[in-house]
């Protein structure tokens, strides 16, 4: 909302922005993007943890540089946990959480935060729903008090519900229906996941959002919004012992959900046939080809395969000047405007590894797809350039240093990890696991992941014939 028509953007970034390739967060306002999974912290004595008697976990990250605190509650529930036919309910409930409670009027939560000079927002993904406030550090107690209040005591009426459902439909229209790349992405995801709910959009299918009810939201809320299904993350100018005392005061009395089952989503059958999706739309300016392969995610205590895939994405499509695709297709051959590889390892269930090529105007998507296959073959046959691997590792090590500059980024990394089935120790070990990856590991991981039977290849195109529209 804030951007002006006079704002500038980096050229490559402007090109990349039109290509929604990985699962997007559905996030309100402009609260920041999911950080690169590379940005991570080494084992760090500023990070401490505790668990309350009612099952609520807590992570405290101390950073005393500025008198600021970020307070977050992460629920182990997201769009992939929705009942069949109720797509969008996790995200819709996130919106409704800003309505009233037994103690707070509708909208009062955000008004109180703003009256403290703070900002607040929330986000929904496949595996988590998170709520956060950023305030002066002496305001932490008030944030906890209000967040604990709305964990169990939300009060909703049908009029609020109907108006907010319209807001969500407008959000979907803005983010998805107005964007051919986003519509294309929905069709590709639906083809990638034959049975698992990662194939359903986080914001929901329009026809199902239109039918969501107050009772749907309340049922979902009553089951999943509970201390034994949540993690508190506090980052900033705080004392861990004080955070614990406050958490015991405010979150301690909140009743857990009894008998909450372990998360279990429908799983994928063996994928035995390559799939292809082609989508054309008048609004497409630069056609592109994107291919995703089903890929393993980071597993607690066994992150090696995910680490190899993370670096594989950098080797194939990280830097436009030095990665295999960038160097060959953008620079040496001049056949691509933009290339990239992506892998989002921090997920609860199987994720995807993807490649994208935007060819130059004189090239077809068939040629671009052949280029993509040729680059994969080059990697598997020629192996990894040791100098390139060294540069990538230097950047990964540096990203640990740069990452410490962002309170919100650090808090978010832990929140995403623990709601994706990882532990605080896994987060601490991740940089070391990445650093240990060898060129042979990367080629071996590439051989395993590049299995066409588990892939979806998508073409986003302009319509064949451009007839005059009357």
């Amino acid at each position: 909302m804030r951007s002006s028509h006079l704002a500038a953007a980096g050229i490559a970034a402007a090109l990349a922005m039109a290509i929604p390739v990985s699962a997007q967060l559905s996030e309100d306002a402009s609260a920041g993007q999911a950080e690169d999974t590379l940005a991570t912290l080494a084992s760090d004595d500023t990070v401490t943890t505790f668990t309350l008697d009612n099952g609520m976990d807590a992570i405290v990250i101390q950073d005393r540089r500025a008198p600021v605190v970020v307070h977050m509650v992460w629920y182990n529930v997201g769009a992939a946990d929705e009942p069949p036919g109720k797509s969008g309910i996790a995200h819709f409930l996130e919106h409704l959480m800003f309505k009233g409670t037994d103690d707070l009027e509708p909208g009062e939560f955000s008004r109180v935060v703003e009256a403290q000079g703070g900002s607040d927002n929330a986000f929904t993904s496949y595996d988590y729903t998170g709520y956060f406030q950023r305030v002066a550090s002496d305001r932490l107690e008030l944030m906890m008090q209000m967040e604990a209040d709305r964990m169990r005591d939300l009060v909703l009426d049908s009029e609020d519900m109907l108006t907010e459902r319209d807001v969500v439909l407008e959000e979907r229209a803005q983010r998805t229906d107005s964007n051919p790349g986003a519509l294309f992405s929905e069709m590709r995801d639906g083809s990638q996941y034959l049975n698992h709910p990662y194939g359903i959009p986080i914001i929901g299918w329009k026809h199902e959002i239109e039918q969501l009810t107050l009772q749907d939201a309340l049922d979902f809320y009553a089951t999943y919004y509970a201390p034994n299904n949540a993690t508190l993350v506090v980052a900033g100018d705080v004392d861990p012992a004080e955070v614990r005392a406050l958490a015991e005061t405010y979150y301690g009395p909140v009743e857990p959900t009894a008998g909450l089952a372990e998360r279990m989503r429908p799983s994928e059958p063996p994928q035995i046939a390559p799939r292809r999706v082609s989508f054309d739309d008048e609004r497409v300016s630069n056609p592109y080809v994107v291919r995703t392969y089903l890929a393993p995610e980071r597993d607690s205590g066994a992150q090696e395969e995910a680490a190899a895939l993370t670096i594989l994405a950098q080797i194939l499509g990280g830097s436009s000047a030095t990665s295999i695709m960038g160097r060959t297709l953008e620079q040496d051959e001049g056949v691509a405007l933009y290339t990239s590889a992506f892998y989002q390892g921090t997920r609860y269930d199987d994720t995807v590894f993807g490649l994208v090529i935007v060819p130059t105007a004189d090239r077809t998507l068939e040629q671009a797809e052949a280029d993509m296959d040729r680059m994969i073959t080059t990697l598997i046959e020629d192996g990894v350039d040791p100098a390139q691997l060294d540069r990538i590792k230097a950047q990964i090590r540096a990203s640990e240093v740069y990452g410490r500059d962002s309170l919100q980024g650090r808090a978010r990394e832990y929140g995403v990890a623990v709601t994706s089935g990882l532990t605080v120790d896994d987060v601490a070990e991740w940089p070391l696991v990445l650093d240990a990856v060898t060129g042979d590991d990367i080629v071996a991981a590439a051989r395993r992941v590049f299995d066409l039977d588990k892939s979806v290849t998508g073409y986003l195109m302009k319509p064949e014939t451009t007839e005059a529209t009357q």
């Binding site: 804030r2 002006s4 103690d103 540096a398």
Partner: protein
């Protein structure tokens, strides 16, 4: 905990005044060669964030050369001194430094982050990009194709179409009226001499500002500044003239096949150096500022569900100011939202704001200010922004007083002067029902 106790406790905590003060200490560093930078030393994390901003920006494009400055900035790290594009990238990646080059209408900027352990080498590499870019033909053609692809993409993006239409109607004949990355025709026609000329015009010592935050001392920084920037030309061309918005009240519909209309609205604004700027700043927060508390957010989103988000802002540019706002709404509902914006515009111009609204806005704006200073990159950027606006080095300590000094009468006066529902223009990109181009 009893419900009553919780209500009381929330109320009690909520009335405590918040007066966190930004604890940054800015030093002014002048290099032996006479280049000034503002520095915040922060030694707890071993890296440095640097931002350099040159006033002038793409406004300095020569006639017929629109897009030259933007393309030039995109080429600075595509080969410099004795390195081609790949050699440059390999060296930067080895150092794990990050550089970002941006072009805006009023300024161009360079942001860098680099590790303490190799700061001299990182700055030497950045120096070559700034002072000695190569503009190799192969790199020029590659980046030109990227810019052309961005232009093609923008032509299909309803939000970009809206902003370009609004700018063209507001500022015909002025650089503000045309896209800073040029048109397909002007970009296709640029040659390497044009890029060298844009480089010589945009990056000059007479209008550079530097902000640095991180693990570096004033003693170290001074000599490094001379190495980094000292060889740039001393002076550049005169700035472009100031310009008033040529746009009158009404609606411009741009037909576009999309289910939702993008609506951009606004009219003449207020300059940063106007005595009433802070009153206007507070007024804008109440009308359509950040968060969920603004009048427009309440009326258009919360009460009626007509949009996902609506906001307004003061575009206080160097040579022309506007107050602008934006929302997206389904084609069937956009006309209704336009009416609400007009009526809120009118209500604020006539009635001003309530004491409660004013207090809430001031509490938020003064409380949020110190929270901006978290992180080296943010601090470097804020310091450059302050210098670009000509603010004194002690501004941070006085800024909240300026907000607190705003009275309800000030807001009423500035709202009455600034907000004119008859002058308000709406550019609507989509297929809105019940809206046609024309005056109100």
């Amino acid at each position: 905990m009893s419900q009553m106790f919780r209500i009381l406790a929330i109320a009690a905590l909520a009335v405590l005044p918040l007066r966190a003060v930004a604890a940054v200490e800015i030093q002014e560093v002048t290099s032996p060669g006479g280049i000034t930078a503002w520095l915040v030393e922060e030694h707890s994390i071993p890296f440095v964030a640097l931002e350099i901003r040159f006033k002038g920006g793409t406004n300095l494009d020569l006639p017929g050369k629109r897009g030259a400055t933007n393309l030039m900035m995109g080429l600075l790290e595509e080969g410099a001194a004795d390195r081609d594009a790949r050699a440059f990238a390999e060296e930067r990646e080895t150092l794990a430094a990050s550089f970002r080059f941006d072009a805006g209408n009023d300024s161009v900027s360079i942001e860098a982050s680099f590790l303490t352990e190799n700061k001299t080498e990182s700055l030497a590499l950045l120096r070559d990009a700034i002072i000695s870019p190569r503009f190799d033909p192969v790199a020029v053609e590659r980046v030109r194709d990227q810019v052309l692809a961005v232009l093609a993409q923008d032509a299909q993006d309803p939000a970009k179409v809206a902003s370009r239409t609004f700018a063209a109607l507001s500022y015909p004949g002025h650089p503000y009226g045309s896209p800073l990355n040029g048109t397909p025709e002007t970009v296709a026609a640029l040659d390497i001499d044009d890029l060298r000329e844009a480089h010589a015009r945009a990056l000059t010592l007479d209008r550079v500002h530097v902000g640095v935050s991180g693990d570096i001392t004033a003693e170290e920084l001074g000599p490094l500044l001379d190495k980094l920037l000292g060889e740039l030309p001393a002076t550049g061309p005169a700035p472009v003239p100031d310009v008033a918005s040529a746009l009158g009240g009404g609606v411009t519909v741009v037909d576009f096949p999309t289910p939702q209309s993008v609506v951009l609205f606004g009219h003449e604004g207020i300059a940063f150096d106007d005595p009433d700027y802070f009153a206007a700043f507070v007024m804008n927060h109440i009308l359509g500022g950040s968060g969920f508390a603004s009048r427009l957010m309440e009326e258009v989103r919360v009460r009626r569900g007509l949009t996902y988000g609506i906001g307004t802002f003061l575009a206080a540019r160097d040579h022309g100011a506007q107050i602008l706002g934006q929302f997206s709404s389904s084609n069937a509902r956009a006309a209704g939202a336009v009416e609400i914006v007009r009526s809120e515009w009118s209500r604020l111009a006539i009635e001003g704001v309530t004491p409660d609204e004013l207090e809430a806005a001031k509490t938020f704006l003064t409380g949020a200010y110190p929270l901006r200073f978290d992180g080296n990159s943010n601090i470097a950027s804020i310091m450059v922004g302050m210098q670009t606006l000509g603010l004194p080095i002690d501004y941070i300590a006085t800024r909240n007083d300026r907000v607190d000094a705003v009275t309800a009468e000030d807001v009423q006066r500035v709202a009455n002067r600034l907000l004119d529902p008859e002058a308000l223009h709406f550019v609507v990109v989509g297929q809105p029902e019940g809206l046609e181009s024309g005056a109100f």
